[in-house]
């Protein structure tokens, strides 16, 4: 991500998620840690891994906190992933990977802020799943 794009991303996040995000650089790898809170008051932490050619390519999103999520039935979500019904991709080193933008809907104007909103919607859908047992596809589409 070039400096100009970084500045834009930072400004949007600062306006909408003040104090709830942190860019991290490890070698050449850039990631964004974000704290998210659902309407039920539960707290999650996601890591958005930003590819070197971002925004041309789609970032991947991992759920770093809590360590594990369970389904309505009590299964570990990471164990049944990738899952179409639960909108998860293959875990990365055991860490749950969330679905967000479809490749066909991704374009370079999509910002990390919008990815974060997508993940917040995912989390709200997940918490509804925990009470209703309905798959996430009923909330987020197929």
């Amino acid at each position: 991500m070039d400096k100009q794009r970084y500045n834009i991303e930072y400004a949007i996040l600062q306006r909408n998620f003040p104090g709830r995000f942190l860019f991290k650089k490890k070698g050449q790898e850039l990631s964004l840690d974000m704290g998210m809170k659902t309407s039920a008051g539960k707290v999650y932490r996601i890591e958005i891994r930003i590819p070197r050619d971002y925004p041309a390519s789609v970032p991947i999103v991992l759920l770093n906190y809590p360590d594990t999520l369970r389904t309505y039935r009590g299964e570990l979500l990471a164990d049944i992933s990738p899952s179409h019904a639960m909108h998860t991709l293959a875990p990365q080193a055991g860490v749950l990977q969330l679905c967000h933008y479809k490749l066909e809907n991704w374009h370079p104007n999509v910002t990390l802020y919008k990815v974060a909103l997508k993940c917040l919607i995912w989390l709200e859908a997940y918490e509804n799943h925990l009470t209703t047992g309905r798959p996430l596809t009923e909330y987020l589409g197929v």
Binding site: S39, A40, Y101, L120, E124, A125, N128, V142
Partner: protein, 62 residues
């Protein structure tokens, strides 16, 4: 901030997923950092972002 709010958001997501009409909109409130359901006839908080489009433009699928 309650389970009731979670249910409201869930119902709105299901309605949108079915393509049905709703009297409400989904907003992200940057003051609280949370999603909220608001009636369409209520004025929008100028700092809020409507997430209806983001919610309905699909999630990656396998």
């Amino acid at each position: 901030m309650s389970e009731n709010d979670t249910n409201k958001i869930g119902k709105e997501l299901v309605v949108r997923n079915k393509g049905e009409v709703t009297m409400n909109r989904l907003e992200f409130d940057p003051e609280t950092g949370e999603l909220v359901v608001r009636r369409n006839d209520l004025p929008m908080n100028p700092d809020a972002t409507t997430v209806d489009q983001i919610a309905t433009d699909g999630f990656a699928a396998l």
